[in-house]
């Protein structure tokens, strides 16, 4: 398969791994931001190719994991209304709110549908004029353009029965938060290439400067990740600070200008709570006032929901790279993908789910 096979070439991967081993002289802690990269690392066993000096810690880049519980509870409340068709990316259906998940709402008669694109939700709104169609707009900069576009399209079509429940988050403020934490161990970042494909990486040099770290824009195929690690290790070993692009086939410095434009047209920055981490200033997007009619929170007046979260799992520490899934006493015992205690075990991009799916024997035996 073109554009996939050439980046999964085993021989080249081994060569890159050898070069990484040759380059490294001391221990380094590198965080991959994106949950997609975490899964690729586990799926292809890339960590098994790396020398013991390199520790990959897993970042907060899993949109499902960091969506706060109160937003999920709001989604559940809206989805249970009989006049609503609630649409979402498939991953969100399993994520438990305080008491239920979207699967349960559907089983109890709610009209909950999986869509691959928010534009499909707009179509549903056209086809069902007597229903309110709500899309759960979660995610990072990657999903934001399409989600913004759905609102632009709905407005252009004059739809009064379409709205989105927004829970958007942005990567750079999370990097700030992690590097600024007194407990930080991260010495370099593999930046999330898909985010950079949209946003470019013009926001990143000030972060690298401020915290004196290397940031390497990295893709998602095995060779991409190994190349990203190699570039990062070279920079770390040379004491080099700055931003490099190891994903040039998809990412430019400026990024996708029209995508950024539609984001800015529809959304504005806001403080956002990250599940397990807390509120990070300016880390999210919300609808601009001129698009307030499309805000599901206003339309349905869900009010303020203050959910109670109990304290068993360490997903907050995992999302900040302070702990690894295998350091959690509940991992693979009380906490499994079927009975998740935390969002990092629920989402298919969550670090705990990745460890569980691909490595649990090794981990539990230890």
């Amino acid at each position: 398969m073109k554009y996939v096979d050439e980046f999964r070439n085993a021989e080249l991967a081994q060569k890159t791994a050898v070069e990484i081993r040759r380059t490294v002289t001391r221990p380094w802690t590198i965080m991959e931001i994106c949950g997609g990269q975490t899964h690729a690392i586990m799926h292809f066993g890339i960590d098994q190719l790396l020398p013991p000096e390199i520790e990959l810690v897993h970042g907060p880049g899993c949109p499902v994991c960091v969506t706060p519980l109160e937003q999920i509870d709001k989604a559940l409340e809206i989805a249970s209304r009989s006049d609503v068709i609630f649409t979402s990316y498939g991953d969100m259906l399993r994520v438990p709110g305080s008491h239920k998940d979207l699967f349960s709402i559907r089983a109890a008669g709610g009209d909950v549908r999986v869509v691959y694109s928010p534009l499909d939700a707009v179509k549903l709104a056209q086809q069902n004029p007597h229903k309110q169609v709500v899309f759960f707009a979660i995610g990072f900069e990657t999903t934001a353009p399409a989600n913004a576009m759905s609102v632009v399209q709905a407005k252009a079509l004059g739809l009064t029965n379409f709205s989105i429940l927004v829970s958007h988050v942005r990567v750079p403020p999370a990097m700030h938060a992690i590097l600024n934490s007194p407990n930080n161990r991260v010495q370099a970042f593999l930046a999330a290439g898909h985010v950079n494909a949209v946003m470019g990486y013009w926001e990143y040099p000030p972060i690298a400067e401020r915290y004196q770290v290397p940031l390497v824009v990295t893709g998602f195929e095995p060779l991409d990740i190994l190349q990203g690690v190699l570039k990062t290790v070279k920079m770390l070993e040379a004491g080099q600070v700055g931003v490099e692009n190891a994903y040039a086939r998809a990412v430019t410095y400026e990024g996708n200008k029209p995508a950024q434009a539609v984001i800015n047209q529809v959304f504005e920055e806001c403080d956002r709570k990250w599940r397990g981490i807390g509120t990070i200033p300016n880390s999210g997007w919300r609808l601009r006032p001129e698009f307030a009619d499309f805000d599901a929170e206003r339309r349905f007046d869900v009010g303020e929901i203050r959910p109670e979260e109990s304290a068993v799992c360490i997903s907050g520490l995992i999302l900040q790279g302070l702990k690894k899934p295998n350091e959690c006493p509940a991992f693979g015992k009380e906490c499994t993908p079927e009975r998740p205690l935390g969002a990092t075990m629920v989402s298919s991009e969550g670090a705990c789910a990745a460890y569980y799916r691909y490595r649990r024997d090794v981990i539990i035996e230890r």
Partner: protein, 356 residues
């Protein structure tokens, strides 16, 4: 960008209240994966408990008073859409049951067919389905000898559901079952993975792109007979339907208390299936097949079996995809092209609903 962030205050550990036992059925209970298994183990098995059911195979094996071993199986079909490239609900209903009976090393003989029809269903459409069932039954060499028809109000069913049950005679010398895989055996797959699931998804218009992929739905009983005529050392036969190859092999690994190690570079997968899976984030190991079987056989017989299978209509692309070891009982592992190893788990929850 925020240039003067406050140091991050870490909240105490945070987690949602997990959803324990649900009081109602969700779609994932019909996925063929972990939830289906749990439902069977917790709700059906204790109530109906008997030896044939406990064996946990595709068909129950029982003895007639005269001592003839019979394989009995049943399967309900709710696929949507009713017609898809390569097949339809009728062909699926016949092949599904024929294959489940055949996987016990049995020769399927007779089927029953129960129809649940929705008020308003076009008779012409029903006729097409019935013709397709007859064609599949003729190819398999089975007769449909009893049936039932029920009609429900419009809106209470999605056009048409079909249940079939089947019966077949097990060859007296045959010892085939999910608990019989042994360390040293090899795993043969009769052809490419995931064709059915992706074809149905395409027919629903859910791929977002065109594909000319056809479902692999086919009766496999003649292939099974060819396999059994070639070797007396076939230990397990199973068709990897819902839940895909991953789920089927996990069942076998648990029943036999062995581990099964797959080689990623040996798995036959069509480029169209790979591409669709890449785009949608699916793993072909979990996508349903309706015309493929897994044979776990003694290593020494594998070359002859492979040659036999490749000469048959539904086994042309048969391949050895892995082996059975004693290392990690109950586990399915996969050796990647990079030389690393990962766990291949059962399907959790729902992936593609109503594919059969």
């Amino acid at each position: 960008m925020n240039n003067n962030p406050e140091p991050l205050t870490i909240q105490s550990a945070i987690c949602p209240v997990p959803i324990r036992d649900r009081g109602y059925v969700i779609m994932g209970h019909g996925s063929g994966g972990k939830l289906s298994h749990d439902l069977i183990a917790a709700r059906f098995l204790p109530a109906f408990d008997n030896e044939a059911l406990r064996a946990g195979n595709d068909a129950g094996v029982v003895q007639t008073p005269g001592g003839t071993p019979l394989a009995i199986s049943t399967d309900s079909h709710v696929v949507w859409p009713l017609f898809f490239p390569g097949g339809d609900i009728g062909k699926l209903a016949v092949c599904g049951t024929v294959n489940d009976v055949a996987m016990m090393g049995a020769r399927p003989l007779y089927l029953t067919a129960g129809f649940i029809l929705e008020e308003g269903l076009e008779i012409g459409l029903l006729e097409k389905v019935v013709e397709s069932m007859q064609a599949a039954a003729a190819e398999a060499g089975v007769q449909i000898v009893a049936g039932d028809t029920k009609v429900v109000e419009r809106g209470k069913a999605d056009g048409l559901y079909i249940n079939t049950a089947g019966i077949g005679v097990v060859r007296p010398t045959t010892e085939i079952g999910g608990a019989n895989a042994r360390p040293g055996d090899v795993v043969i797959l009769s052809g490419t993975l995931g064709d059915h699931g992706i074809a149905v998804l395409g027919a629903r218009g859910e791929l977002g792109f065109e594909s000319d992929l056809e479902s692999d739905v086919a009766p496999l009983n003649h292939l099974v007979m060819a396999i059994l005529a070639t070797s007396d050392n076939v230990h397990v036969l199973r068709d990897p339907t819902r839940g895909g190859l991953a789920t089927t092999l996990n069942e076998i690994a648990r029943q036999s208390q062995v581990s099964i190690v797959l080689r990623e570079d040996q798995l036959p997968i069509r480029p169209a299936v790979r591409a669709a899976c890449e785009m949608l984030g699916f793993d072909p190991l979990y996508i349903a097949n309706e015309g493929k079987l897994v044979a776990i056989v003694a290593r020494e017989d594998a070359p002859a079996l492979l040659a036999t299978m490749r000469r048959t209509r539904y086994g042309e692309e048969a391949a050895i995809i892995g082996e059975v070891t004693a290392d990690a009982p109950g586990r399915v592992l996969l050796k990647t092209g990079f030389g690393s190893t990962r766990i291949v788990d059962m399907l959790m929850g729902e992936m593609l609903p109503r594919i059969c």
